[in-house]
Symmetry: C2
Subunit: 333 residues, 2 copies
């Protein structure tokens, strides 16, 4: 297992990234490599107590910022933490790269530097949702804004392999996100994808609407990357606005404030249940190596959780499983 962390990626880098990495080392006993300018990373590390042999530094001179154009910066900034980190994954056994930096650059880096697994048409970005029956992977959430039906078919396949191996879900249920539950519903893309999914060796159980994203008992929720992005961000935005409004409603008068104190613990449990960051970052699935995109505003806790996810990703050998099973699946289709 070789886990590389982009020390310079995200709104709170390098401080929170390095802090979260140290916490992961202390809590999980994992060995990590921080990627970034040696002097900066070293200085950050000096603040913390941890077994020193557990954290290595891989030097990278520059940083790709959020303003940099994704694909271009991967080609030009070859000494950036993202490029150096992803190249390190390529050259290592069972490697995983974690970054809270420029999403487009992390995606492009994964695609361009690692390359697609044989048979994969389009790698996809997943996001883990907390549903009422467990966890579900929403895939794609932004790697492919314009999709063909065959891409959605493959998202179902790689999503199933991910959920099966990461969370030991046997024969995970797959649904297609659509504007109606009936088979005939949909736009041109989902109508065709539905027909393909019926004849794909996954446990496809039909369509769900947007309102079922958090209540579905399926483990893999398939859509194109544009729709996935809209759905995920609508979900995030709505839960944020409502939780804030609940808070404001409580403190709007004295009686409410007293009531609020009494339910404080219950609400904080709830808040962490709907905090998508609790479930780690977004895995890029279908490339020849592990790449996990952590939220841009990740703090140390989120980074620690994403490292835990990365460890699971490496242990479960997700890349190897996709490579093997896609070959088998392609034979049977």
């Amino acid at each position: 297992m070789n886990i590389f962390i982009d020390a310079m990626g995200g709104d709170h880098a390098p401080y929170e990234i390095v802090k979260g990495s140290v916490e992961a080392v202390n809590e999980f006993g994992v060995q990590l490599t921080l990627v970034g300018p040696t002097d900066i990373v070293k200085k950050e590390l000096e603040q913390w107590d941890y077994p020193e042999e557990q954290i290595k530094i891989l030097h990278a001179d520059s940083v790709i910022s959020n303003d940099d154009e994704a694909a271009l910066s991967i080609r030009r900034k070859t000494d950036s933490s993202i490029v150096v980190g992803i190249k390190a994954v390529k050259e290592s056994e069972n490697g995983v790269f974690i970054s809270a930096g420029n999403t487009g650059a992390v995606l492009s880096g994964g695609l361009l530097l690692l390359g697609r697994i044989k048979g994969i048409k389009r790698p996809a970005l997943g996001a883990t949702l907390p549903t009422e029956s467990g966890l579900a992977l929403l895939v794609d959430t932004g790697a492919n804004t314009d999709c063909k039906p065959e891409y959605l078919q493959q998202f179902a396949q790689i999503g199933s392999i991910y959920m099966e191996n990461m969370y030991n879900i046997n024969n995970p249920k797959v649904v297609l996100i659509n504007n109606g539950t009936e088979e005939k519903k949909g736009n041109a893309l989902t109508k065709e994808a539905y027909q393909l999914l019926k004849n794909t060796p996954v446990n496809f159980v039909g369509n769900i609407e947007g309102r079922e994203l958090l209540t579905t008992d399926a483990s893999v929720l398939v859509c194109d990357g544009f729709t996935g992005n809209i759905a995920l961000k609508t979900l995030e935005g709505t839960s944020k606005v409502i939780m804030e409004n609940v808070k404001n409603a409580i403190v709007s008068n004295t009686v409410g404030k007293i009531g609020g104190l009494l339910i404080k613990n219950n609400l904080s449990t709830l808040r962490s249940k709907f905090n998508y960051k609790e479930y780690g970052g977004a895995p890029l699935l279908g490339v020849k190596g592990g790449v996990i995109k952590s939220h841009g505003n990740s703090n140390a806790y989120v980074i620690k959780r994403t490292i835990q996810q990365g460890m699971k990703f490496a242990e479960a050998k997700v890349v190897e499983k996709i490579t093997e099973e896609l070959t088998d699946i392609n034979k049977t289709i």
Copy 2:
């Protein structure tokens, strides 16, 4: 003003529909026509006190159910409450038809029986969202699952006319729902639509992401009908799940229950703020007459609110305004 209500449409018809209509008559002094089988509607009306001359019955023998195929049922069930009601709008001055019945049939009925306003490429279904700065119209929310960029351009125009005339919003801000805020972001559709919108006589201010649906200060949120459906239902589903979880978190222990009693009033105000049904139904914009689709599970209160919206729609002469301004706009583009 001629307001026709489908007495037989929706999960709670005819009881809640007739009750809501009676309440609207008593509260707003409006004159209404209930459309449905005369004997059934008459019997429902007998339960209530209201000035009898204020409610007429327009006989319709049959009902289009939710299982009926939309376009087909409009052509075949010519004696249904939806067909009879929409035809009545066509033959009346400033008419509005309100139905909580089969959405597809209401849409098809509006399109086939009323026809498009001259210059309108695709009529669209709007939905009113409660944003932090007021109300916003999400358009399209399901009339057009596959769109061309020019359709989105027109949604911006008719949405602006609607918001301007219904809510007296001067030069309403228009945004495009997209997978990123930067101009270059998007799928093939939104990238092209962005360029068109820049050169359209509306107050276009750029892209918003899904997470800003409830916090935007724009009044018109433009997207294709598939995306709008996913966004709207994700928003509805998420707020429902979170409010239920808040409730459960509160009652999960005794201390929480006491706290819950103290904040009960504050939370119920909040609940109605995020109850999309408070804001009436979804107007079908771009056809030659008023058609408003009320939620399938509308109760009397929601029907009353939708009738209020229908009254405003007629008073503001929305259809006339779209007809006039579209002609002007088309001249200037």
